[in-house]
């Protein structure tokens, strides 16, 4: 399908965006020690530790994939990055400017440059608004006159592969799942963002439609020089779309590195278990033994020390008593993990000699 309009020039990746303040070496987004705990009703003092000290950066023009099971805090993290919910602690730096602090970048200014696409394509559209109005709403609210906002909506709908004359007047319930997700992508792009946070954007779609939307996202990224944070539980999709991958478990980062390194030489036992749980697609090579047993624990009362120790086949007393250090252990400056087995000073029997 011709998704990219032939008349649209592909932006030169070296061309500098006038909004760029920090230069090419400055990460688009830096998150430092982000925390968000949700208090639990009826249980005094207890809280869901959804995101518990997460740090990473997103380089300009890259796609950072975030993977993890349900309850690992990946969706909470996505919302923290846009300040849709305010973090309890920690710091966000967008292109060199700290977010929501004096002399930093204000939240409304952040949202002009960062947009989001949600998983549930129907619930995230207003059912009483024709989709062209939904798409035009962002530019309008950010100061464009109505006719100009409508023109942007028409243009953006065309770019996501929807004919604005045919689909513009329709309501969300008249569209298929894939079409609705295209509308959501158009709405995110209508304000001209530099970065888009995609929270499970293809998880609710059928495989044949998922492929179309992934191709569309790839094309749009090239065309508009975008930076993506792509959240998914589907490891194959994350490998395909991401430059770097961050693996989360119960509110913490367990591993971060280039996509191929994570998939070909995973360092953390949880990452290995996740990869080993993927169906092989080959009936002759079925999985005979599950890599790990049990369910992820409840994030209200997460295990002490390394949060994975309750399911880890290599767990030793040190894993229960001490938090592992998140570091670059194997001489690779891009690939980091948090596991006592990698840390020479941890005292774990499998750890390398110092």
């Amino acid at each position: 399908m011709a998704i990219i309009d032939a008349h649209m020039p592909i932006l030169d990746p070296r061309a500098v965006d006038p909004r760029d303040r920090g230069g090419p070496a400055q990460p688009m987004l830096i998150a430092r020690d982000l925390k968000k705990h949700f208090p639990v009703k009826g249980a005094r003092g207890k809280s869901v530790q959804a995101v518990d000290g997460v740090s990473f950066d997103v380089q300009k023009g890259e796609t950072l994939g975030i993977v993890g099971e349900s309850g690992c805090g990946k969706s909470t993290l996505a919302r923290l990055l846009l300040h849709l919910i305010a973090p309890d602690a920690g710091e966000l730096v967008f292109d060199g400017d700290a977010v929501d602090v004096p002399n930093g970048i204000r939240v409304d200014a952040l949202r002009r440059q960062v947009q989001m696409v949600f998983q549930d394509s129907y619930a995230s559209l207003n059912p009483r608004m024709p989709i062209r109005d939904s798409v035009a709403f962002g530019p309008f609210i950010q100061g464009k006159k109505r006719p100009a906002a409508r023109e942007i909506a028409r243009d953006t709908l065309r770019k996501v592969g929807l004919d604005p004359e045919l689909f513009g007047p329709r309501y969300p319930h008249e569209l298929s799942g894939g079409q609705k997700q295209r509308v959501n992508i158009a709405r995110a792009l209508a304000t001209g963002p530099r970065m888009v946070i995609l929270d499970e954007p293809v998880s609710a779609l059928d495989k044949s439609v998922e492929a179309q939307v992934l191709n569309l996202l790839r094309g749009l990224k090239r065309q508009f020089n975008l930076t993506y944070v792509f959240i998914s539980h589907d490891l194959s999709v994350v490998r395909y779309i991401s430059d770097r991958v961050l693996v989360m478990y119960l509110g913490r980062v367990v591993e971060l590195g280039p996509a191929d390194a994570i998939f070909d030489q995973p360092q953390h036992p949880y990452t290995r278990a996740l990869l080993g749980s993927r169906p092989s697609m080959d009936p002759a090579r079925r999985i005979e033994e599950p890599p790990i047993t049990g369910d992820p624990p409840n994030p209200i009362d997460p295990p002490s020390g390394c949060r994975f120790h309750t399911r880890c086949p290599f767990a030793e007393p040190v894993c229960q008593s001490r938090d592992p250090v998140f570091g670059f252990w194997r001489g690779d400056e891009a690939h980091a993990a948090a596991c006592h087995m990698l840390d020479p000073r941890s005292g774990h029997s499998q750890a390398p000699d110092a």
């Binding site: 179309q212 169906p279 080959d282």
Partner: protein, 352 residues
């Protein structure tokens, strides 16, 4: 293809129930012939299933693979007549020799949960939140076998051990909300197995689970199916899951089976363009710098199916003839079937 005379439920309801045919019972546990399901309302008629035929032998796992709206779940539910009132079911469904569509309500109640049982996608909605797991398993046992309360509890405990729930005594008195997703799904499997069914119907039972839990439940189901010698029909949209569990596979599109055969043969060398497209568009290790070969367009509106092959509007290999008649079923190799004019077959005939 000429359609055989339809046998609606009402017309057959009064007919004498045929004796179960046990002679070739192990040969064919399930026989479905030309099954059609329509949902009729004032506004429109939805043609959810349009002439589906298949057979499952005892101890065999059939995977029905399809995208949303392909009619895979409706087909599964039709086997137990678990469909709303406005559904019109036609065709023939025989389970263990008995005609399910002609069955009186009383016999149907014995069948459901007895000879045939079913597990669902979302265990939280399939289990009753106000009864403990032990009570729910016990209820099925007492209803079907007339066991005492104590004996049913004993057997429920055995079942929880069978599905490998840790500390089963404690879990017997747990309410569904007190269990994790994986344990809930195991409890539902235990309930389904309580009366030793010969056929287990599974409607995407691992779709709502996390990756590390999904593989545990798949391995469990495969083991139980083999040990208990059950037939199983497993509905999924996930090719990877089908490759893990199926013996044979039937690919559905717009209410019809477009391709079927042994799982390794179909996934290894798909014959129908839809199966080929589905395999190509599933992300599994494609190079990052190239687009995925997606199938263009979207599935047809089931209220207004196109004439001829339903996949033709999206098919890159379509011929003018594809738009005229529904393609006949061809047999490229013994045991395989593909409904496509592009498939070469020595003798075009139905493989079922």
């Amino acid at each position: 293809m000429p359609r055989p005379a339809t046998c609606s439920i009402r017309a057959r309801a009064t007919a004498k129930r045929p004796m179960p045919d046990r002679r070739n019972g192990s040969a064919r546990l399930v026989e479905v012939h030309d099954l059609a399901v329509r949902f009729v309302s004032r506004e429109a008629t939805v043609h959810a299933v349009n002439g589906v035929s298949f057979a499952v032998r005892a101890g065999e796992v059939l995977c029905i693979l399809g995208e949303s709206g392909s009619g895979k779940s409706v087909t599964l539910r039709a086997l137990m007549r678990l469909l709303p009132r406005q559904a019109r079911i036609e065709g023939r469904v025989r389970i263990d020799g008995e005609d399910v569509l002609a069955m009186p309500a009383r016999r149907l109640r014995e069948l459901r949960g007895g000879l045939v049982s079913m597990i669902f996608q979302e265990p939280m909605t399939a289990l009753d939140p106000v009864y403990t797991v032990g009570q729910q398993i016990g209820e099925a046992l007492r209803r079907h076998t007339g066991m005492t309360r104590a004996a049913a509890r004993e057997r429920a405990l055995e079942l929880l051990e069978l599905v490998r729930i840790p500390s089963p005594e404690r879990r017997l008195d747990a309410y569904p909300h007190e269990l994790s997703g994986g344990l809930r799904q195991r409890a539902m499997i235990a309930m389904a197995l309580s009366c030793n069914p010969r056929l287990l119907l599974a409607d995407e039972p691992t779709t709502a689970l996390d990756a590390t839990v999904q593989v545990q439940v798949l391995i469990l189901l495969r083991r139980l199916q083999r040990e208990l010698g059950m037939g199983m029909i497993f509905v999924t949209h996930d090719l990877g899951v089908a490759a893990e569990i199926a013996d044979t596979i039937a690919v559905m599109y717009a209410g019809r089976i477009v391709e079927s055969g042994p799982v390794a043969a179909v996934l290894g060398a798909p014959a129908h363009p839809y199966t080929q497209g589905l395999l190509a568009s599933t992300v599994h290790g494609q190079p990052r710098d190239r687009d995925i070969d997606a199938i263009p367009g979207s599935p047809p509106d089931m209220r207004r199916l196109p004439r001829g092959c339903s996949f033709a509007p999206r098919c890159a290999q379509r011929l003018p003839a594809c738009h005229i008649d529904v393609p006949e079923q061809r047999v490229p190799q013994p045991g395989r079937m593909a409904a496509c004019l592009r498939v070469y077959a020595p003798t075009p005939s139905c493989g079922c």
